[in-house]
């Protein structure tokens, strides 16, 4: 008998999680400071540390600076004791968030239930907030991270998740595009990349609309358009990402052997 969470999942859900984790991990530079949520962000950051970025420093909103994530002992939240094992520091939750405001954080990294063409994220309501179809858990630190850091977002590419306008802006992207984010008082932070199981996207410098940057191997532009609820900007030249390597997949599965997040 071990003390763990029980999870099972389909094969396709697992391969989506693997792809998101691998593709995101490659964006994380050695020596950078990353504010990460649990799930894909945690897997990707830990994979990056094992692959090319041993001195990537992770921050968690519970109040952790530089945790050492043990393979097979993943924390089921960013707010519990497993995150503090072998960490460099455990400041208060308020103070770790304040590091974002002070400007110590290079990247914020999280997912969301919905994202729109300007990178706004929704993790609060599905449907009209006044009478919602689903009340979701809420922001947590999401609003703080998106308000203050350069954001990487990882999400499965589905039409219901990639929408023209989110039902509710929990974590601000570029709001209504153009200069509206800055005009609202958000003078730092930005949307950097969106990683999906089909492609990588970034944002147009002027309009701040989402732009296709690279396709994963075997994916066509039509696949992206079919699964996106708005028209992303299509650049003249599209890159193709390298597929996950055996080593990346092996390490990823070592990190999460029980499928806490891969499932």
């Amino acid at each position: 008998m071990t003390n763990s969470v029980t999870k099972t999942a389909t094969k396709s859900k697992r391969s989506t999680a693997e792809l998101l984790s691998v593709m995101s991990s490659r964006l994380l530079e050695d020596g950078s400071i990353l504010f990460a949520g649990v799930g894909i962000p945690l897997l990707a950051a830990t994979l990056a540390q094992r692959m090319h970025a041993p001195h990537l420093t992770i921050l968690f909103e519970g109040g952790v600076v530089g945790p050492y994530i043990e393979s097979g002992k993943l924390p089921p939240s960013t707010n519990e004791a497993r995150t503090s094992r072998m960490a460099n520091m455990v400041p208060s939750s308020t103070d770790v968030m304040a590091l974002l405001q002070r400007g110590y954080v290079d990247y914020g990294f999280m997912g969301g239930a919905q994202v729109d063409q300007y990178g706004n994220l929704n993790s609060s309501f599905i449907g009209d907030p006044a009478s919602p179809k689903i009340r979701l858990p809420g922001s947590g630190g999401g609003n703080d991270i998106a308000s203050l850091a350069r954001m990487i977002v990882a999400m499965p590419h589905e039409k219901k998740r990639f929408v023209g306008k989110v039902d509710f802006v929990t974590s601000p992207g570029y709001l209504d595009g153009g200069t509206t984010r800055r005009d609202a008082g958000l003078i730092t932070g930005s949307m950097h990349k969106v990683i999906t199981d089909l492609c990588i996207m970034d944002f147009d410098e002027q309009t701040k609309r989402m732009r296709l940057e690279a396709l994963h191997p075997g994916v066509e532009v039509a696949d992206v358009l079919e699964n996106t609820g708005f028209e992303p900007i299509l650049p003249d030249k599209l890159d193709v990402t390298a597929p996950p390597t055996d080593e990346e997949l092996r390490i990823l599965n070592e990190i999460d052997p029980d499928g806490m997040y891969l499932n």
Partner: protein
């Protein structure tokens, strides 16, 4: 006057001072039973909960609040886990102030939270995680608000617009959000060690406790162990909550179960899986079943732990102690 304006902002500083002045803050022993301690919580109070998600949750204290059928509480916590479900299903609260609400991300969205929040039966004021922390900090500092750079531009700001003001910085002209102070009537906090007077020490993640304890008018402390004042004085750097903030001290080993207490025990995961399954399959009926079996049913807290099961507690203890095993 809306429920939220009663709690957030607008408290006069003199009233705030008077609320502390009128309480006996002298050097006195405060050890009492769980039921006497929770007797200090009044219907209609703003009750804040320490810990974070399922870590160092004062679960036994919340459990007793539900058993005593407290009513009309405003509850605040940085991130809310299954203890929030119990307060909702137990009919104890009409107003929640938090940044996130579900047992934990791996168990999905709480159907109990959805039941009460989607119908509007309970008001969910959603603030960002840092906002909650800064609101307690403003409260702890005796200031009416804390200027920050979050919540701006988002729909979250619109949702709590009655309680959230913006200003242009008088020095730089930059736009700032002014988060209103939170000064709870009472804070429930669980710690590793405390003396009989209420000097409290905790290990591991400090969460928002230090601010929360001083923001509140009084603290009800549960602890894994009561230690002597001499032992407190031998390590005063470890004392995070001063005795004069504390109104009650209750010794309750495993007082966070089925949640965790850093370095002592991990969550009782199979029980949390069980609870998630019960409420996922049966919704509010599942929560009511849980209340009967695990909250109203047990004779006392030890009986609750008995019902959780000894072998699972041992496994959680072994896993929890590994934190410092090498």
């Amino acid at each position: 006057m809306t429920a939220s304006s009663k709690v957030l902002g607008g408290t006069s500083y003199l009233d705030l001072r008077e609320r502390l002045r009128s309480r006996d803050r002298g050097w006195r022993e405060k050890v009492m039973s769980l039921s006497d301690a929770i007797g200090l919580v009044n219907d209609g109070d703003h009750m804040a909960i320490g810990g974070n998600t399922f870590s160092r949750t004062p679960f036994a204290a919340v459990w007793e609040v539900v058993r005593q059928k407290k009513k009309n509480l405003t509850v605040s916590r940085n991130i809310t886990s299954s203890e929030g479900d119990l307060l909702l299903a137990g009919g104890c609260t009409e107003h929640y102030i938090t940044s996130w609400f579900s047992q934990g991300i791996v168990w999905g969205v709480s159907k109990v939270m959805r039941h009460f929040m989607e119908s509007g039966a309970v008001k969910y004021d959603e603030w960002s995680h840092m906002s909650i922390g800064m609101m307690y900090r403003a409260g702890a500092l005796g200031l009416p608000f804390m200027p920050t750079r979050v919540m701006m531009g988002s729909d979250m700001a619109r949702l709590v617009a009655d309680d959230l003001k913006e200003m242009d910085c008088p020095y730089t002209g930059e736009k700032l959000t002014l988060l209103p102070a939170l000064n709870p009537d009472v804070a429930l906090i669980h710690v590793h060690r405390a003396d009989a007077y209420g000097n409290a020490q905790y290990d591991g993640l400090p969460f928002m406790e230090a601010d929360l304890a001083l923001a509140a008018d009084k603290v009800i402390l549960t602890c894994e162990q009561i230690i002597s004042n001499d032992r407190i004085r031998r390590a005063p750097d470890q004392t995070k909550i001063p005795f004069f903030a504390v109104e009650a001290v209750v010794e309750l080993p495993y007082g966070c179960m089925p949640h965790e207490c850093s370095g002592l025990y991990e969550p009782y995961y199979s029980h949390m899986d069980y609870y998630a399954r019960l409420t996922r399959e049966k919704g509010i009926e599942g929560a009511n079943e849980y209340l009967q079996e695990y909250v109203y049913g047990p004779e006392d807290w030890n009986d609750f732990l008995n019902r959780l099961g000894f072998s699972g507690i041992i496994e959680a203890t072994k896993a929890g102690r590994r934190l410092y095993s090498d």
